[in-house]
Subunit: 232 residues, 2 copies
DNA sequence: GTCTATATCATGATAGAC
DNA sequence: GTCTATCATGATATAGAC
């Protein structure tokens, strides 16, 4: 420890971020008080205002810490597929993989907090607080248009508006899937095998693809004789 | 007006319920103060405690007012299909219609508050507050097992555990679909034609069915040698 | 950088006049 | 049943000693 920097406890910031992240998932933003956060982090009450300025700024930093990376990973996954495709439209399963697969992999990381964060993120999509919503919109501004374009090209027969809705539906399904234990107990009284995070991906991805490529409302017949959609 | 009941303003209760419902959707439970509620309802601050006893009791009454009816409607729709089927397993689309179709029809009712309530309900599935979660679990206790059984019978080739997950995914997709304007703005910068509520049903139901009946993970092309699969 | 102590404010709830 | 006035509590945020 040098004399100039009196950083006695260099990870105070991180401890606060970790504690806040976990508590926000558990109790929501409003119900999570600064006393709760600093208590769990084992730091002083005043530390939040010193390190972040305000509770609101802390919330934003909790997101920024991981969301920036996540969206970059989503984009680079998409770009990797696009490079492979050499200008041809991507397959739907590739786009879904780039966006949701990357998310699920982050959610599978229980060691470094990725799981907790993804639960928080899913919960926050429906968070009505104005400044959080605005913040999310900014963070997604670079990512969403790219995926929209890719989906439009991949599914030229589906009206763009329909694709946007289905993208939205997929977001909802994933968020609930990750929120997991909380909401799932409504439908399953006993614990499901949430232990294996890889399993969630194997369960969710087929569901998403099935929904994304489902026949449109008007054109579905009794799809018995019809050949089932080929799964890529 | 009789002399015995001094109900000067018989709809004060309802006015409070309406205001609370709308504000809970907009700001969440914690952030919605009793002053906000009584202010919007145009009643006195003390009225909530007089009529409901506490804020917590008010929250429960907001749900009870509509959720009881909703779940009865879901059940009777299911029973109508089961009567028609005469002991044969239902079609998946019938089960989805009974549960989600009924919900969407309620969400389509913008006149009498059904829309607002369904948004609140969707938002609340991920609500972490303990007493709300317990309350929801109780309200769903009579409904969920019936739908689970119907799905198990309708999809004998799909492992029950998988069906529960897909039920869960469907709940998530629907909740987001109804939450609508809030979360959707992430993916669609402009307003979609949310005006027509019937349109949502035409969009969501195919998606749900497509996901519910999607081929299982190992089953499609990437054949794991592990499980013998039957033709789709 | 960290702590104690505190300022300031908003909350849920209640007592009591009308 | 409705209102005003108020209590006790707990919130965010800050000042100032160390």
């Amino acid at each position: 420890m040098s004399l100039t920097e009196a950083k006695q406890n260099p990870d105070t910031r991180e401890r606060i971020l970790d504690a806040a992240e976990a508590l926000f998932v558990e109790h929501g933003f409003e119900a999570t008080t600064m006393r709760l956060i600093t208590g769990r982090a084992g730091v002083n009450l005043a530390a939040i205002n010193y390190h972040f300025g305000s509770k609101e700024a802390l919330i934003q930093d909790v997101f920024r810490r991981r969301l920036t990376w996540l969206n970059e990973a989503r984009l680079s996954a998409l770009e990797r597929f696009e490079k492979e495709a050499r200008g041809a439209p991507l397959k739907p399963h590739q786009i879904v993989e780039a966006f949701f697969g990357v998310s699920l992999r982050m959610a599978a990381d229980t060691e470094h907090g990725g799981h907790t964060f993804m639960r928080l993120l899913g919960r926050t999509y429906t968070e009505p607080s104005a400044f959080v919503r605005q913040f999310l919109a900014d963070e997604y501004a670079a990512v969403v248009p790219r995926f929209k374009q890719a989906l439009f090209r991949a599914l030229p027969d589906v009206p763009p508006e329909e694709i946007l809705w289905r993208f939205h539906f997929m977001l909802g399904a994933m968020s609930y899937a990750i929120a997991g234990t909380d909401a799932l107990q409504l439908v399953a009284e006993h614990e499901l095998d949430e232990k294996d995070p890889e399993a969630l991906s194997r369960r969710l991805m087929p569901f998403l693809l099935g929904g994304l490529r489902a026949p449109l409302a008007g054109q579905a017949v009794k799809a018995k004789e019809k050949t089932p959609r080929k799964a890529a």
